[in-house]
């Protein structure tokens, strides 16, 4: 397996949506290719960091204000 072929399956490997046969091939490649191992691990880490540090959270007071405004507009339109 080439690095290009590995990259084509990277998302499936990360998401676990892959057949056991292809997974075994990818893992064999990972064992002998340091660069692909780095790309695989750091891409997984990228997702994990974004997932555990959600951006643009709504502060509670702003959320309440916007929620009230939305519901007032909905009631007016119904």
């Amino acid at each position: 397996m080439t690095c290009k072929e590995f990259l084509a399956h990277l998302d499936d490997l990360i998401d676990g949506s892959i057949s056991p046969e292809i997974r075994a091939e990818l893992e064999t490649h990972l064992h002998c290719c340091e660069h692909c191992e780095v790309v695989f691990n750091t891409t997984r880490k990228t997702i994990q960091v974004y997932r555990s540090n959600e951006l643009y959270d709504l502060p509670e007071n702003l959320r309440d204000r916007l929620h009230a405004a939305i519901m007032a507009r909905c009631k007016k339109s119904s």
């Binding site: 691990n41 750091t42 959270d57 009631k75």
Partner: protein, 222 residues
């Protein structure tokens, strides 16, 4: 056949559908529950696309109002949330278009870019690299890093990887094909990885951007 199918579907209905049915019947409190359930997510999508807090607030309000007014058009064969996302993405793009004085903006924008499609930075990261930064610094880095991505990449990454929607639901919400979602997701992940590498490389002493590793110093000082 249709009747049998709809009876079968009804028994496995998503809980949102019952709220939608009540809201359609005039029960505003049912819609209130749907708004509360999804307002954070819709706000984040709007902020990702518009990159402007005031716009995101307006988009969030307009999207929920529009969805409420169009509840009768909602087809129960899709999930309420994917339908709502679609409305909010369109509202966000319209808002962005206004800001860019009429320039066409779509989630296909900048699709031609090849950036990040081939990994170039192949140096390993430090173990738990985020620990080298304070929460505020990390938030700034993550925001700066994702900000430069095309809107179509950001929103696919947000829906799939942060909010955890399936590829199929993401495709439906964005009006894209499944292969298009997959292609955007791979490129979004690789571009983000490439950009984060600048901050997360294995290093000694200080970070490449000149950070003083306040986070680590603070945690070690505890």
């Amino acid at each position: 056949m249709t009747t049998i199918q709809s009876i079968a579907d009804e028994s496995e209905q998503h809980p949102d559908l019952a709220l939608v049915a009540r809201a359609r019947g005039g029960d505003v409190s049912a819609y209130d529950a749907l708004v509360r359930k999804y307002e954070r997510q819709i706000f984040r999508i709007a902020q990702h696309i518009t990159q402007n807090r005031e716009d995101a607030e307006d988009v969030m309000q307009d999207s929920f109002l529009k969805a409420y007014e169009k509840l009768d058009q909602f087809q129960g064969n899709s999930k309420f949330y994917t339908w709502l996302v679609r409305i909010s993405v369109n509202e966000s793009l319209m808002r962005l278009r206004k800001r860019r004085t009429g320039k066409m903006v779509s989630i296909d924008e900048d699709l031609e870019t090849e950036e990040g499609s081939v990994p170039r930075d192949l140096a390993d990261w430090a173990p738990d690299p985020e620990q080298n930064y304070t929460q505020t610094e990390l938030g700034e880095i993550l925001e700066k890093t994702i900000k430069g991505l095309p809107p179509g990449f950001k929103v696919v990454f947000e829906l799939r990887d942060v909010q955890g929607l399936s590829t199929e639901d993401t495709a439906e919400a964005l009006g894209l094909s499944v292969p298009a979602v997959k292609s955007r997701l791979l490129r979004a992940r690789l571009q983000l990885r490439e950009r984060l590498s600048r901050y997360f490389h294995k290093k000694q002493g200080t970070s490449p951007m000149g950070h003083s590793l306040k986070g680590r110093a603070a945690s070690e000082g505890k």
